[in-house]
Amino acid sequence: MESIVCKKLNLFYGDFHALKDVSVSITPRRITSIIGPSGCGKSTLLRVFNRMNDLIPGVSIAGEVDVLGRPLLGLDILNLRRSVGMVFQRPNPFPFSIFENIAYGMRIHGNGKRSTIDAVVQQSLEGVGLWNDLKDRLKSSALALSGEQQQRLCIARTLATKPQILLMDEPCSALDPIATAHIEELMQDLKNEYTIIIVTHNMQQAARVSEDCGFMLLGELIEFGKTTQLFTAPRDKRTEDYISGKYG
């Protein structure tokens, strides 16, 4: 079963047509990247998958979106966001301790047993490679961590609710190249258990980390396919021009 299937998805912000007839299938336990220039709709598409756009006034959506085999609009929103986690451009830890950053999501999802929380905090931090560094200072403020550690913590916070899909919106754009490499390595480890969709401006990053890649332009998904194919022999001239840095 595909993790996400979109058919003829259209999204409007008021009169602005932000997504135009987008149809795509996201394969489980792979990394799928979405690339395209600013304003092309890639973040909007990502935010459809866990209904982050719902709160924006004037948004209307048409078309079919199935997440994990069920229609998006039929899913309970809390369950949806437990299954579909999101990591944002800037690391955004809560102004709590490292421990509480991870425990918080479990508590609001109603799983407050201390022994369970302890175990999940450890598993989540191990999952992102932070446990050994942070296990002795779990009560320290998360805001004191480096940018890379904060972003790892945010990923760990998402993992704590046992999602099946991870949405990543420019997860490395605020990080230096070394931290970026560490997050990319982490993504490769995580894809064995999670479906990852990453939106990025960094085409080399998309080429490095993803197996599948989509190119969006002006709200349309112009081309979608294997990343190697898209970067070596794209089918559409608009894709070729974008990834080659050419004038259209």
Binding site: M203, T232, I243, S244
Partner: protein
Amino acid sequence: MDRHIDHHFDEALEVLKQQIVLMGLKVEEMVADCMKALASRDEKLAMQVIERDRAVNALEVSIDEQCIELLARYQPAATDLRFITRGLKIVTDLERVGDLAVNTASRVLDIAKLGDAPIDLAQMSSIVQMMLKDSIDAFVNFNVAKAEGVLKNDDIVDDLTDCYVGELLDRAGKEPKNLNRLFPATSIVRYLERIADHSTNIAELAIFTAKGRDVRHSKPS
């Protein structure tokens, strides 16, 4: 072709293209001069061909360096990536063509010391030279039709090779006094055939560069 937003990349690609064209011209001239030297028993021209190989080798190194620099600096994609990576391979073929021209020139000298060319290779050499020129043109101008024409000619060259080698070996049996000119001529035929093979390689790489379609080893056996 559309221009890149970074015009420095366009300029660097143009320099690379011109260098590949220049290397192609040099080896084309070497092959052509070998055949002129053979036909006119011109030892001086054959010696010049041998001397010119150093410039071809230097171009190979220079083009290699340019390709690596472009890959490192611009992280090209799509057609640009195919052009640069295939360029790296094509210069190896061109360098080998230069070496084969040197070998041919040496055999021309062997023959010229003893007498005239024992066979007229004008037909074969004209096809081979055209294949070489067309393959390089096809690569730098993304011309698939021209590249496909080169692939078709390879079969003709193979047939001519069999024909000429058969004739030369047959005469070797009958004209023992001419062995020292017939055997070098056989080698020249073999060298021309290998130049055609390198041209075929270049044409296959040209098709990949233009269309992203790998046609190597796809010929039915």
